[in-house]
């Protein structure tokens, strides 16, 4: 597998990045007097270069967890530390991917990928080669100058993935990134994602509804409770690497999926 070519970095040594949440709660004020407790005392630590899957029922605060980690909202209680620094505002060294690809329709694919560079007021020319090689890695050669409307949903999400990686962030936050992609493309995209985030290694928080997807891709799976969200259990995934579609037929894969389902059952999520 080709590695992403070397790229300019703002500083020569990147800070070791890991994520630590201690006693994190988030309360949204809906109207005066009515509150919604989205997260309740979340404790978790994610090691550097760890691919961490987060699974939980709908509305359990998974997205809120990512928003807080990115510094887009501040927690109502508790503290979040990313790369050794407490988060108290938008974190600059983060890439985000959402369920919707959020490509700008009026920009070509390559200009969409270069958007973070533009926002950070770096020279676009310095990153164009990197953008092209990322697009090549996800199989979008020849679509650099197409508009998003000319791409399929899967291809659009690949372009969004390139956009999240262009500035080489240490931390990748993904909120159900493949939820609107068909099942076959979805597994392919997941394995592509692994390739892109192991070389160079990135810390990834990957929110998903699919237990199988979480187990297939992750080093560690966090299982969340229904709202208000808490971390119910943590599983280490000891499947051999690199993961392939064949990892799915490993007995350990099925055992883990079964165990995680068991946690949901015990919490009354699955019946």
């Amino acid at each position: 597998m080709k590695a992403v070519p070397s790229r300019p970095r703002p500083s020569s040594s990147a800070a070791p990045c890991f994520v630590e949440l201690s006693g994190v709660s988030k309360r949204y004020e809906l109207r005066a007097g009515t509150d919604l407790l989205a997260l309740d005392g979340v404790e978790c630590a994610v090691a550097e270069s760890c691919f961490c899957g987060i699974v939980g029922p709908s509305g359990c605060g998974k997205s809120t967890l990512l928003m807080l980690t990115a510094g887009l909202y501040l927690p109502s209680a508790g503290q979040i530390v990313v790369a050794g620094r407490p988060v108290n505002g938008p974190c600059p060294d983060v890439g985000m991917v959402f369920q919707r690809d959020l490509l700008l329709e009026w920009r070509t694919v390559i200009d969409n990928v270069l958007l973070p560079i533009e926002l950070k007021r770096l020279r676009k020319a310095d990153f164009e080669e990197r953008a092209r090689s990322l697009l090549r890695l996800v199989g979008l050669v020849g679509f650099e100058d197409s508009y998003p409307e000319q791409l399929s949903i899967g291809m659009r999400q690949r372009a969004a993935l390139c956009r999240s990686l262009i500035h080489d962030p240490a931390l990748l936050l993904m909120d159900e990134p493949f939820a609107s992609v068909d099942a076959l493309t979805r597994e392919k995209l997941g394995l592509d994602l692994l390739r892109l985030t192991t070389e160079p290694a990135k810390t990834v928080l990957f929110v998903t509804h699919s237990v199988e997807e979480a187990v297939l891709l992750s080093d560690q799976v966090l299982v969340m409770s229904p709202r208000p969200g808490r971390i119910l259990r943590r599983f280490d995934v000891d499947l051999p690497k690199p993961r392939t579609l064949a990892s799915r037929s490993d007995p350990r894969f099925h055992r883990l999926v079964g165990e995680i389902r068991g946690v949901f059952q015990a919490a009354g999520v699955l019946s």
Binding site: A70, M96, L104, E105, L115, E118, L119, K120, E149
Partner: protein, 261 residues
């Protein structure tokens, strides 16, 4: 090729309709003061091209000035309404209440304020054009999904960057929709103003022709008015085509089709 054939068909249909009108007048012996024939209208227009051109220019000037002022006021107002909840609470109900007033009712007040000249007509064209431009700006600006704002903020984007790189381009097809409605409405505003009190302009000329029982001239003025509206409308379309990148242009067409459906 198909495009060319389409155009030929359109022209042919127009020619046929005009011919039918021409023939119908004599066939059913409709009196000329009720429905003058197209040729009679053309001949009447040809007899006083200078006067017609003079009044057209007066109206054009009123419409363009009023419309430009409306654009300058409405787009920023729309942006302000979207960007601040206080300003939304302040201006939005006011705007809707103002739109509920028939603009004709404002004409006498504006004449009292600004007199018989250009200013009263420009201000009426201005107030009639404003509403659709403000509303479409608001609708367009509000279209950006919250995740997009999250994404932009996570990349360290400032409010100005979010506005310039996401919100405004996303709103552009809607704003142009508002401009197209606005330009035709400002035409209505200007002519109504001329009806109420003026000494020149196509609306004024229409009244003169009416008082003189000059039906062919009356028709000629109405036709010039509608041609002027069409020309201004397409002028906006041309600007839109020059300003918007291709995918947004298609979106603008989709919007119009949606509005028609």
């Amino acid at each position: 090729m198909r495009e060319a054939r389409l155009n030929v068909t359109v022209v042919l249909v127009y020619v046929l309709l005009l011919a039918a009108w021409q023939l119908a007048g004599s066939a059913f012996s409709v009196p000329a003061f009720i429905l003058p024939s197209p040729l009679a209208i053309l001949q009447r227009a040809a007899r006083s091209p200078g006067v017609l051109a003079f009044h057209t220019l007066v109206t054009l000037q009123e419409v363009v000035l009023g419309f430009l002022l409306a654009v300058l006021a409405s787009i920023p107002l729309g942006i302000l309404i979207v960007s601040s909840r206080l300003l939304e609470r302040l201006f939005y109900p006011l705007l809707v209440a103002f739109q509920a007033i028939p603009k004709v009712a404002l004409a006498p007040i504006l004449v009292v304020w600004f007199g018989f000249g250009l200013t009263s007509k420009v201000s009426l064209a201005f107030v009639t054009a404003m509403f659709p431009i403000v509303i479409n700006t608001v609708v367009g600006m509000a279209r950006t999904p919250p995740e997009m704002i999250h994404l932009m903020r996570s990349l360290g984007a400032s409010r100005l960057q979010i506005f310039a790189k996401v919100r405004l381009p996303a709103a552009a097809p809607h704003i142009f929709g508002g401009l197209k409605v606005g330009i035709t409405l400002s035409m209505v505003g200007a002519v109504v103003g001329e009806f109420i009190a003026s000494n020149s302009g196509l609306g004024n000329f229409l009244l003169i022709a009416n008082n003189a029982f000059d039906s062919p001239l009356l028709f000629a003025v109405v036709i010039v008015l509608s041609l002027l509206s069409v020309a201004l409308f397409y002028a906006i379309e041309v600007i839109e085509a020059l300003v918007l990148p291709r995918p947004l242009r298609r979106k603008a067409i989709d919007l119009e089709l949606g509005a028609r459906a």
